[in-house]
Amino acid sequence: MSATRIHAKPKSRLWKTLTSIRLTVFVLLILAAVAVIGTVVPQGQPLNLYLKLYGQGWGELLWGGGFTHVYFSPWFLMPLGLLTLNVCACIVHGLPQAVKRSFRQLSGEAALSLPERGRVTWPADVDPHAAITTVWRRELGPGRRETLGGQEIYLKEQGRFRPLGPYLIHIALLLILAGGVIGKFWGVEGQVALDQGGVASTFHTGPKTTKPLHFQVRLDKFQVAYYGPGSMPKEFRSDLTFLKNGQQVSRATCRVNEPVNFGGLTFYQASYGSEATGPVILKMLQGKQSEDLELPLWRPVELPGGWGKMIAMRVDGNFQGYGPAVLLAYKPSQGKPQVFWALKNHPEFGEQAGLRFLVESIPFAYYSVLQVRRDPGVWWVYTGFLMFLPGLYLAFFRPTERWALVLTKTAQGKWEAR
């Protein structure tokens, strides 16, 4: 290969290894294997989960060995770093050559050294120019013509930039990796949980760490809509207002797949829930008797008449599209405890062990959890994505073709083409 001519000086062993394709294939397969571990072992869970799943020995080994966050552990980052070095080395090694080759047009001289495919001779009295032009046009499309020392050369080349394709792909890969690193070090990521009507001026970047927002965000309203009772959720929607120094600056609606940008940060609808704002009021019916019950959340309440105990465990503003509901745990004085949902708009479901529970009121408020993020690396990553496409096209779908026809007048005055 011509590349060896350019680097005529003896190359160090390290450089040879770094630019070797064997390293590439090896590292790719290692990365694949390590990534498999990451999908089999649950990632980013607390230690006691691993102890429970794998037992003391294995659990601690996985935890201590970094296999519980394997994509951020040396097991993954080292081969990835090696791959990066490998890619960089290959780019340094071959890019100048590829650029030189791509920008060198096929010249008459170079054409003379192309392998010969055939030879045609015309009789002395025939001028072949017209015929050649037509056939050339029909078979190869427009081309160029050069004259070189009495020889006429027809030239056509295609896919001259093909050698750049692989380099575009690999530079794109480096951009994506760079984007990842930039995001890791200069990006911010966190969450903000807002009660309906609540205002936040900070967001959580970890369980105990917060960051200021430099503005305020207010959740005006959260809504969850279903396609119908018992059907799938249709929309989670947070109506937000952004404020600066108490002044309303802008309003926006944040939905899944429709993030909101403000003040250099992006807000994504991540999760939601409902919180009880007061005790749940139930009506307990037994035959013709009826009793009112007041159930504060998570406080066991003795039922009148020795029927047992009841705990309200959770409220839901719109339980599977059936409207407000409360999750009740009922422990009868005899028999097994029951856990069931009581629906405000569907009293027909509230029957348990001869008792009926009707929901009178469920005071609740929604809260919405928004993912907050700024990632300056995203544009690097997207640039990489965009570069991939021409790179793949050039590398795989644009074969290099060089055609030349050399027309010479022989000593006998005949035209000869080859």
Binding site: R22, L28, A32, T39, P233, F236, N257, L392, F396
Partner: protein
């Protein structure tokens, strides 16, 4: 009505597979032609059935969310392409195989290779019809994105291209052991493996890229090491290794064929294994 149409398509593909097998065993070029004609017919009916499913999806969606204006209607149409659940992904995958096969293999899509592809499509359709919930369900919020169409189409065309590479690789390995003059020669099969792998690699890359851009708008992260993402990356690594080995190390033939088989195992795991064995953000498929 539409599901019966898919049943008919399944039968046609089964007949195609039988036809190609018989044609190969009896060395009958005429039966090969019949098989190909039937494959085209099956693909036509399959396409019609997919469009029918799309129309049904749209009508159900229009009941829930009546679209006002041309723009909203178009968006509703794009959103309700039949690509939103496991059943629909199966019937689309089954469509990709013969469609891409006819495109990439041209006249080589006959005999054992044709039978293998037709049989794979038959199995996918059979599984979709008998083992999977086929009811039309409204779209959940996470899937309401214009990226859905392009992400799923590129991903599954990629899977299909790798399936074709797998088929050629299997045939290569058989042909190497017991050569049959009526089957494509080893260099031809080697070329087919390479061509389909390149196609699949391009499509898988596009699938991963569109998925990343979509994840960025939906979850605020272009990459979150979700098992499906990770497995698609593993698959990508394997095929990248294959292409490097072939283009730069000059690997050919058997070793490339085995790598194509390994790659397709990873594809199958990315599609089925991740959905059934691992949980993650793509779990709405099951």
């Amino acid at each position: 009505m539409i599901s019966q149409l898919f049943g008919a398509v399944m039968l046609i593909y089964l007949l195609v597979a039988i036809c190609f097998l018989v044609a190969e065993l009896w060395a009958s070029p005429r039966l090969q032609d019949v098989g190909r004609a039937m494959l085209w017919l099956g693909l036509g009916v399959h396409t019609a059935a997919l469009i029918g499913r799309w129309v049904d999806n749209y009508q159900v969606a229009a009941l829930h969310t009546p679209a006002a204006g041309l723009g909203a209607t178009l968006r509703l149409i794009v959103l309700h392409a039949p690509l939103a659940n496991f059943y629909e992904s199966l019937i689309f995958f089954a469509w990709c195989l013969p469609a891409l096969g006819l495109l990439a293999f041209r006249r080589h899509l006959r005999g054992y290779l044709g039978a293998l592809i037709a049989l794979l499509s038959t199995l996918l359709l059979a599984y979709a019809s008998f083992g999977v919930d086929s009811r039309i369900k409204p779209l959940m919020p996470a899937l309401k994105s214009n990226w859905l169409l392009v992400h799923v189409v590129t991903a599954f065309l990629g899977y299909a291209a790798f399936a074709l590479a797998f088929g050629s690789a299997i045939l290569y390995l058989i042909q190497e052991r017991r050569p049959r003059p009526s089957l494509p020669s080893l260099p031809v099969l080697d070329g087919l493996i390479y061509r389909t792998t390149v196609l699949g690699f391009l499509l898988l890359t596009l699938g991963i890229i569109t998925g990343a851009v979509w994840a960025e708008t939906a979850w605020g992260r272009y990459w979150s090491w979700d098992p499906k993402e990770t497995w698609s990356l593993i698959t990508w690594f394997i095929y990248a290794a294959l292409l490097h080995a072939r283009l730069l190390k000059g690997w050919h033939g058997r070793r490339i064929a085995w790598l194509a088989v390994l790659g397709f195992m990873a594809v199958l795991f990315t599609y089925f294994g991740v959905s059934f064995l691992l949980s993650g953000m793509h779990s709405y498929l099951t």
